[in-house]
Symmetry: C2
C-alpha cells in the first residue's frame, strides 16, 4: 500500500488543474493505492485537510482539468524558521508518517520550491522515506532551469489577444484618446509584459512600448518615448510590468514600500495608474489604463492547448519519476534543439518539450529574469528571438464547455 | 445617382464594425450608388476624409465585420455652439452637398445622437434633403428608448466570463488574498457592472457584491458589506462601476474633479484602486484589483453572436428605413412580448428583436439608468429579472480566425 499527496501552492494559473489531473491520472496508472490532495498547499498538511482524489471519476477529473483557479486551493504560507518552524515541521512529519505518505508532489513557483525543499529536508532528517518532487507552475515564467513554466503560455496568449484587440480599439480613437497603458503581473520579471509583443502584426500596430523590470526605468525616458510615439503614430499603446523600478530601486507607483506579502514581496500594482497621471500631468494628453490582474492568471477561455497539455505532462512525469526513485528535484521542460519535425502536431497543441530534473536547491527562491539578448533596450521592446521562443507556447486552443453563452467550470474540491 | 455616408462615433464596441458591415451590405442591396465612410466620425465630414466603402470586396467586409475597434475611426468631438459651431455646420452642409449625400448614418451613443440631431437640423435649415438616421452602439447600454444597445451583450459576455474565471481563482486564494475588486466602465450607469452577476453559478460564488452608480455609495456600508462577506465566505469578490458616487455627488476615487472630456464628462477609472486602499487601511486585509478598461470594449474573441448579428441588423434596418423616407430617428431594438418561439435559434445567436424608430430628440444626450426594480439595494446585487433580461444578449459565439494561436483582424480603413 503506497500513498501520495499532491498540493497546489502560490497563485494559480489557468492550467494548474491540468497538472493536478496529470498527477492523479498517472498515480492511478502507476498503482499508487491512495491519492490524497492537500487543501490550501502546505496548510492542508498542517491541518490534515485532505481530499481523496483517487475516488474522483474520470468525468469529474476532466472537468476539473478545464477549470481555472487551484481546485485544491493555493497558498502563500511561508514556513517559519526557528522554534515556530520546527513545530510546523514536526507536525508535517507527523501527518505524512501517519498517512504512510511515500510521495509528495508540490505544484508551485520559486517560493513553493523552497517549501518543497524544506519538506524534503524535514523528512530526510527524521528518517521518513518520502520522495518530494516539485512541479513548476507560474504565469510569471520566472523559475530557473526550465525552458518555460506551465501557466505562462496561457497567460501570454490572453495578454497578447487582449493587447491586439485593445490596440486596434485604441488606434481608432487616437484623435481623442492618446495613450493607453496596460499593466501585467510578473513581479520582478518581464516575461508577461514581453508576451504582449506577440500582438504586434505590423510596423505601427500595438504594442508600441514595453517596459520590463529587467531594464532600469526612467520617467523622463518613458515620457520622451511616449511623446515620440504620439508624434509618429498619433497615439501610444504602452505595456508595463507591475514590477518596473528606477535605477536606485524605487518601484514605480508603489505608494507604500512597507506593504509586503508573507514572502516579503512588496505590494505591486499601481504602475499603470501612476504612469497615466504622469502622462496627463507632463505631456498634457489624455491617458487611460487597463490592469488585467488575476484575469490574466485565470483566463481558461483563452488557454493555450500547448500549455494545457504540457501542464498535464509535467504532472505525469513527476509521478513516474518519483515511483522510479527520484527525489528532491523539480521537473523541468527541455526544448528540443534544431528544426521541429512535428510542427503540425505542435500547432494543435501537442506536447513537444522533453523533461529533465533539477535539484530543488537550484530553483528554490531563485528567479529567472528575461535574458539581455531578448530585450531591445533602445526601443523599449523585445527581439525577434524572444518571439520565436514564445510563439510555440501559445499554440492551440482548449474548447470551452458552454452553457447560456458562458463557460462552465467545476466546483472546488 | 444617390450617395450615403456612414460614420462611427464615440468609443468603439466589439461589434461596431458589424453595424458598418450591415449598412454597407444593405446599401449595396438597396442600389445606393456611392457608399462613403467618413473617417473619425463627424471629423471625417469636416475634413472631407472619406473611404469608398462600395469598392470593398465581400471578403474584406467580412473580415472587417469580425474586427474590434472602429474601422473608420471613432471620435469624441463635440460640435461647438455659437459662431464657431455655425462655421462647422456650414462646412458640414457644404461637404454633404458637394458629394450629393442623400443619406447619413451615424453609429454612436447618446452624445453622438445629439451630433446626429444637430446635423439633421443643419441640413433641414439649409434646405438640404439629407435623411439622418442614428444607429445605437455602446457597451454602456445607456441609450434610452431601446431594449438594449448593440455592443452591450458582447462586453457583458466578456465581463461575466472574466468574473467567473477570476472568481474561481480568487476563491482558491482566500486564505491569503481576501478581497478582489474588479472595475467596469459604464459612466453614470451600472449596466456593465451588473452584467457580472451572470458569472454567479451558486450561492457563495463570485461576484458577491456589485456597486452601481444608480445607488448612493457609502464607504462605511461598503466596508461592512465586505467584512460580512469575508466572515461568511473567507473572502470577497466585488464588482464596481467606474462611476459610483456618494449621496452628495462625490465620485469615488476621482482625484481631480476638474479633469473632463470634450463632452464635459469627468475622468473616471480610479474607483477600484481607491477602494483597495480603503479595504487595506480599514479592514487590515489584503486587496487587489483588476480594471479591464478598453479590453471590455474590444473583446471580439468573446463577442456574443446575438449581439454581433443584431449589430448588423440595426445597420441594415437603418438603410432600409432611410430609403423608405425615414429621417431624424434612431433605430431601436424591441424585444417581443411573451414566450420565445425561437429559443433554439436564439441560442445560436440569431436575431430575435424587432426594430422601432425613435426621434433623435428623445435620445440625444439622454441617459438610461438601471431601473430600480432590477437592483437589490440591500444586498448590493441585481435581481433575477435583470438576469432574465440580460441572458439572451450574451448567447452564441463568433468563431475567431486564428493564426499562430491568436485572432487575426483587419487593418483600419
Amino acid at each position: 500500500m503506497s500513498t501520495c499527496v499532491v498540493a497546489q501552492a502560490g497563485g494559480p494559473t489557468a492550467v494548474i488543474n491540468s497538472t493536478l489531473y496529470g498527477v492523479v491520472d498517472e498515480a492511478k496508472r502507476a498503482g499508487i493505492s491512495k491519492i490524497l490532495g492537500a487543501r490550501g498547499g502546505i496548510r492542508g498538511i498542517l491541518k490534515e485537510d485532505f481530499v481523496d482524489l483517487g475516488r474522483l471519476d474520470q468525468n469529474t477529473l476532466a472537468r476539473i482539468r478545464r477549470t481555472p483557479g487551484a481546485a485544491l486551493g493555493g497558498c502563500r504560507y511561508k514556513l517559519p524558521s526557528g522554534p515556530e518552524g520546527s513545530r510546523d515541521f514536526d507536525r508535517i512529519a507527523y501527518v505524512l508518517a501517519k498517512h504512510n505518505v511515500r510521495y509528495f508532489f508540490y505544484v508551485g513557483g520559486n517560493d513553493s520550491m523552497d517549501t518543497a525543499l524544506k519538506i524534503h529536508e524535514c523528512c530526510a532528517s527524521r528518517g521518513l522515506d518520502v520522495s518530494v518532487i516539485g512541479i513548476p507552475k507560474t504565469v510569471d515564467n520566472d523559475i530557473c532551469h526550465t525552458d518555460h513554466c506551465p501557466g505562462y503560455g496561457s497567460a501570454a496568449k490572453y495578454i497578447a489577444t487582449c493587447v491586439r484587440e485593445a490596440g486596434i480599439h485604441a488606434a481608432s480613437m487616437y484623435d481623442d484618446e492618446k495613450v493607453v497603458i496596460l499593466e501585467t503581473v510578473g513581479r520582478n520579471t518581464g516575461w508577461l509584459a514581453a508576451s504582449s509583443a506577440l500582438a504586434k502584426t505590423r510596423e505601427g500596430s500595438a504594442p508600441h512600448l514595453i517596459y520590463l523590470p529587467e531594464v532600469d526605468f526612467s520617467e523622463d525616458r518613458f515620457l520622451a518615448d511616449v511623446d515620440r510615439c504620439i508624434s509618429r503614430l498619433g497615439g501610444a499603446f504602452v505595456v508595463v510590468a507591475e514590477g518596473i523600478k528606477t535605477k536606485d530601486g524605487r518601484l514605480i507607483g508603489n505608494a507604500d514600500p512597507e506593504l509586503k506579502d508573507p514572502f516579503g514581496h512588496p505590494q505591486l500594482g499601481e504602475a499603470a495608474s501612476y504612469l497615466c497621471g504622469l502622462v496627463r500631468a507632463r505631456l498634457k494628453v489624455s491617458a487611460r489604463y487597463a490592469k488585467l490582474d488575476i484575469c490574466q492568471q485565470s483566463a481558461m477561455h483563452l488557454a493555450s492547448r500547448t500549455d494545457w497539455e504540457e501542464a498535464a505532462h509535467v504532472g505525469r512525469q513527476a509521478v513516474s519519476h518519483a515511483v522510479a526513485g527520484g527525489n528532491c528535484v523539480m521537473v523541468s521542460l527541455r526544448r528540443p534543439e534544431g528544426p521541429d519535425p512535428k510542427r503540425d502536431a505542435r500547432a494543435r497543441g501537442e506536447v513537444r518539450c522533453g523533461v529533465g530534473w533539477v535539484p530543488l536547491s537550484l530553483v528554490a527562491n531563485m528567479e529567472r529574469r528575461m535574458p539581455d539578448e531578448w530585450i531591445d533596450r533602445s526601443a523599449a521592446f523585445v527581439t525577434p528571438d524572444f518571439l520565436s521562443y514564445l510563439t510555440p507556447l501559445v499554440l492551440g486552443e482548449v474548447p470551452a464547455l458552454l452553457e447560456s453563452g458562458l463557460p462552465v467550470y467545476a466546483d472546488p474540491l
